[in-house]
Amino acid sequence: METLEQIKARLEKILPLTRLDLLPNECPAGEHSLLVDAASGFAVAQFLRDDPQLLLDYCSNVTGIDWPQATIKTKVKKQVLVEGVAKEIEETIETLRSGHLEVVYHLYSMALKQGPVVLRLRTENRTDNTRLPSLTPLWRGAELQEREIYDLYGVIFEGHPDLRRILMWDDFVGFPMRRNYVAPDDFEYEPTPHDEVLQAAKKHYPAEVKP
């Protein structure tokens, strides 16, 4: 199978407007991934599915990941001359990672029995622009998994045929798989007055919702 570098080079020829990044993976299994910007995500996925050399007809796994805003500390080794002698110093570089949600697709080929190609899409932020193109029109196998990611992370997949909550109930508020989600003391408040359970539940509901 082609390496990810070769796939990326071919994609850059065919879709010149696409912003593609190779994300290295330090794990011994070496499943590097391809980060695509949201605007051209669908076109790239379609290429990967239909290209005769790849034929990634099987979308095995769709994962949502939450990356909140954080400062990342990376240690870099540096050669420094101290009093005429070369010394190696470890330097910590702090970079600010803007918060975003990420969706990872693991693509395999059943026809050619090869894979995986790991495709990543990122939303702009975690609050008001969490839209991504849905890949369900290409692989129906993504249908329930994208619904699950919408349910638990709040990524809105544009072009999904039936985007509703799937595991949580319909009037549930919030996205429980996000890193900063705080679960209420009790999910099921009991409508019995003079009850301390009711008092505890009241704290978690906004003022306009009168239990």
């Binding site: 993976n25 794990c27 011994p28 007809d57 796994n61 059943m110 008001d128 692989w139 595991l167 508020v173």
Partner: protein
Amino acid sequence: MNSIAELPPRSFAVKPKLDGHGEPMGELLEISMGPHHPSTHGVFRMDVVLDGEEVVKLKPVFGYLHRNHEKIGEAVSYLSTMPYTDRLDYFCSMTNNWAYALTIERLAGLAVPERAEYIRVIMAELTRLQNHTCLIGFFVQDMGALGTPMMYAFREREKILDLFESASGARMMCNYMRFGGVRVDVDDAWLAQAKQVTNDYGKFLDEFEAFLTQNEILLARTQHVGVLPRALAINASITGPMLRAAGVNYDLRKVDKYGIYSRFDFKVPVGEHGDIYDRYMVRVLEMRESIKILQAALRDIPAGPFMDPKAKLRGFRPKPGEVYGRIEGPKGELGFYVISDGSPNPYRYRVRPPSFINLTILEDMCLGHKISDAVVILGSVDIVLGEVDR
């Protein structure tokens, strides 16, 4: 908290059929089947719209057993998740353990000793035997054969669960595999008993098949019912016996050759029509192949260590990175996707549940069939709600 823009409401109304003058022909009946229906295999609900007895719309509804398995997996250490994977598909805890152990071994680059690989294959194939046997029992029961076939299946299953119990201490929640091996070794008496069970299993399958394979009612209820076309099966990421019944030769034991499956000589049964009967037959033939694998594994199992001595279970901190590991579970491709950030807990822990994804095409298979067929079609998908809802 919910600051994301609301989606526009969607209409799922189904219009009744119209006659030539635009008048509706009778009324549609909407049934909420489940969650406490005996043939939904757990707490599972189908919102079915019927025209007479014919299904015109079907929406699966689940989440009744949802406990956010993945969130809990991110809050505890790598090893603590191992017993929790038992509860995903509670019929096949051994294969769940293996899939998770395999993923973490790939993440950390651990090796597995020879004997442990053989024990894993033996456990996985025994799991496959008991899962397929029980599934056939269940779905024959869904067709109305109350009790008897299922009890035959459960009698055989209990023999295999006895083996699991004597090896791991628990019948169903085995918690048996570890990163780099298995938790405890099996002794010669256990292997002799496993050999006995394996050799007798062929006879049981003959008996089972004599009752079912040519049975007129079973043929009438299953052939040309719930047909899943080959192209749709691939596109909808269907895996396991359902995919192979649709005519796709894709078995991860052959494709990925994980563990030591390249050493065994076995065939992959593939269906032709993609209907329920093919799914039944593929499972029966798969069990016969499993018996072959088991006999070879029980014959060849070497002596030696059952744990990698370098594997460190407590305070296990793999290097940062991510990995997707998958095995051929009895229900389909069971995958785990783990991202490590170097801490004792995984940053992201994702389960790829085969029976959840196999439900994608439930509506496509049921449309146009009778409501009683929808029950059998659901039975042939082979779902376990512990895994669907997670």
